[in-house]
């Protein structure tokens, strides 16, 4: 049985340094998988490669059995793999509701031919999308901000908005890049509760990058640890926590700090 997401030997250099150096990992369908590692380990770069924002130099990425390496980000998303961003990308001059409704898949109103020739079909889908958007906003506790500009939301609220948007896209798998960073702990735990509910209720798969190790250990079925661009350990939280390689990676050999961040991106 192959995993939902299979990353094999992916390599990517920036300015002569290997930001991702033969990274290999699996994410099983219906799991909550964590991706941890010190700053500069290459986690966000790997996210970019998997989601199509960067092309790998070597290696493959397969999603649902289909190779998606090098596909453009919108095609990856349409295949059912949606991601959020470390630095949130709220569409600031659009309303919170518009942000959400944008994300819905299969909108006939996005084709000009339908706008003029089948307006009723487009309008009907718009109404359904709006209902769903309001429901999801309630789930992420943003329903009171429905008509406000997304730019007025706080950092933590924007993380929730991105999460809600990702859900609107009805994905098979969601990749969350530091969903807790900058979010107040209560909201953050709410978000993780939702993650667990969605996994339980719909079998949605999650891969999350997080620096808060307590949180990741508590919520993940499986954890991958990256260091210097490679995946150095994979296993259940207890095993990873005890692994000497992992401790080394975070503390460096003989207690020295870990290697400096790759020049382009640090995560």
């Amino acid at each position: 049985m192959s995993a939902l997401l299979e990353v094999r030997d992916v390599v990517k250099h920036y300015g002569g340094i290997a930001a991702v150096n033969r990274a290999t990992l699996d994410v099983e369908e219906g799991s909550i998988t964590g991706l941890i590692g010190p700053n500069g380990a290459g986690k966000t770069t790997l996210f970019h490669i998997v989601s199509g924002f960067r092309k790998p130099e070597q290696g493959t990425v397969r999603f649902g059995g289909v190779e998606i390496s090098g596909r453009s980000p919108d095609r990856v998303a349409r295949a059912g793999l949606v991601r959020t961003f470390q630095h949130t990308k709220a569409l600031t001059r659009m309303s919170v509701l518009d942000n959400m409704m944008l994300a819905a898949p299969e909108q006939p109103g996005e084709r000009l031919s339908n706008v003029f020739l089948r307006p009723r079909r487009a309008r009907r889908r718009e109404r359904d999308v709006e209902v769903k958007a309001r429901e999801v906003l309630a789930v992420v506790r943003l329903e009171r901000h429905v008509d406000e500009y997304a730019g007025t939301l706080s950092g933590g609220q924007r993380k929730l908005l991105e999460f809600g948007r990702a859900l609107m896209a009805e994905p098979r798998m969601v990749m969350l890049d530091e969903p807790m960073a900058g979010v107040n702990p209560t909201l953050g735990h709410e978000l993780l509760d939702r993650v667990q509910e969605l996994r339980a209720a719909r079998g949605m798969t999650f891969l999350l990058i997080e620096h808060d190790l307590e949180v990741v250990m508590a919520v993940s079925d499986l954890i991958h640890v990256m260091s210097n661009g490679a995946v150095i350990a994979s296993g259940p939280p207890a095993a990873v926590r005890a692994s000497p390689d992992v401790i080394d990676a975070y503390l460096g050999k003989y207690g020295e700090p870990a290697a400096p961040a790759a020049p382009e991106e640090a995560s």
Binding site: P73, A77, K89, L91, R93, M101, P105, V115
Partner: protein, 326 residues
């Protein structure tokens, strides 16, 4: 002073404002809605005008078919313009569009056999023939003038007829663009303007939407070129100076980004400023000659641009919050 009260003069001003409104609506779609910095918009106007004139004069295509083809050619140009955007950052794209605009104008200037070169459309048939592309249009205009005559009597001169035709077209453009921009299709455009990576991460084919925006915007530009050709009955490459693109930008900035119905208002304001300076028949302006008045006009336009950016970057009708949030 008599000119100040002449209906024909104001009809001309109004018609030209309407032509600029159509032109600016195309740019509004590209920039105001999609965030694309197109500084070569005048090229679509040139392509529209020249395609029509060449088809009519050289290939003897009937006017209406040639006009449709001209709009199609404009749209093709807009689609082609999307190719550089796929890999370029916004400011690089802007410079590239200026370059492409200049290439088109240069082409018109130098390919004499095709475009008549620097002498413009009077030269389309070669130096031996005096050519007109306008004959069918003029008869259409007369027909319209006849209808108007029945309505408003002797006020209906040819300029007035043109004014009415142009503004009916402006209205039609607005009626077409309004449902487009309010639809989910329009929402994707605005998302691309805000953050195209976010739009892509949500599954929207960003390149395809940019292509549509550029193509349709250029189609409007081509239509403005047609109207320009019909209004002035003659044109040359000089008429499609990069300055024209900046006029459209001024109009869009006056109106405010993503405001549709404000664009014609912006165009009227622009038209008034432009022609209004003609009436500075009082001191100290009487000390200036015609050329100097023209330069003064440019200075005023420059000052307005700066004033807008300093005090009202959201335009007359835009929302302040939308600027602050940028």
């Amino acid at each position: 002073m008599s000119q100040l009260l002449s209906l024909d003069f104001w009809s001309l001003v109004g018609a030209v404002s309407g032509i600029y409104a159509v032109f600016a609506l195309g740019l509004q779609l590209q920039f105001g809605y999609t965030g694309l910095l197109n500084f070569g918009h005048v090229a679509s106007m040139a392509i529209g005008a020249y395609t029509m004139a060449i088809l009519v004069v050289k290939a003897h295509v009937p006017l209406w078919g040639a006009s449709l083809a001209a709009i199609g050619a404009g749209m093709l140009f807009g689609a082609a313009l999307s190719l550089p955007t796929l890999r370029l950052r916004a400011d690089y794209f802007a410079i590239t569009t200026i370059a492409i605009g200049e290439i088109v104008r240069y082409f018109a200037l130098n390919e004499q056999s095709l475009t008549g070169g620097p002498l413009g459309t009077s030269n389309l048939g070669g130096s031996t023939q005096v050519t007109e592309y306008n004959t069918d249009w003029l008869s259409f205009q007369s027909t319209v003038q006849g209808w108007l005559h029945d309505l408003v009597g002797h006020y209906a001169g040819t300029d007035f007829a043109m004014l009415v035709i142009v503004w009916v077209i402006v209205l039609l453009c607005l009626l077409v663009l309004t449902p487009m921009t309010r639809s989910p299709w329009g929402r994707v455009l605005r998302a691309i303007r805000e953050d195209e990576d976010a739009a892509a991460a949500l599954g929207k084919p960003v390149a395809w939407f940019k292509l549509q925006s550029l193509a349709i915007g250029a189609g409007f530009g081509a239509m403005a070129g047609l109207l320009y050709a019909f209004e002035f009955q003659f044109f040359s490459p000089d008429d499609f100076d990069p300055l024209i693109t900046f006029y459209a930008w001024l109009i869009v900035l006056i109106a405010g980004a993503a405001r549709l119905w404000a664009v014609p208002i912006g165009a009227l304001i622009f038209g008034l400023i432009f022609s209004g300076t003609r009436f500075f028949n009082f001191k100290p302006f009487t000390y200036l000659d015609a050329a100097q008045l023209a330069y003064l006009r440019l200075m005023i336009i420059g000052a307005i641009l700066i004033a807008l950016m300093a005090w009202r970057p959201q335009g007359l009708f835009g929302k302040r919050e939308e600027m602050v949030l940028e």
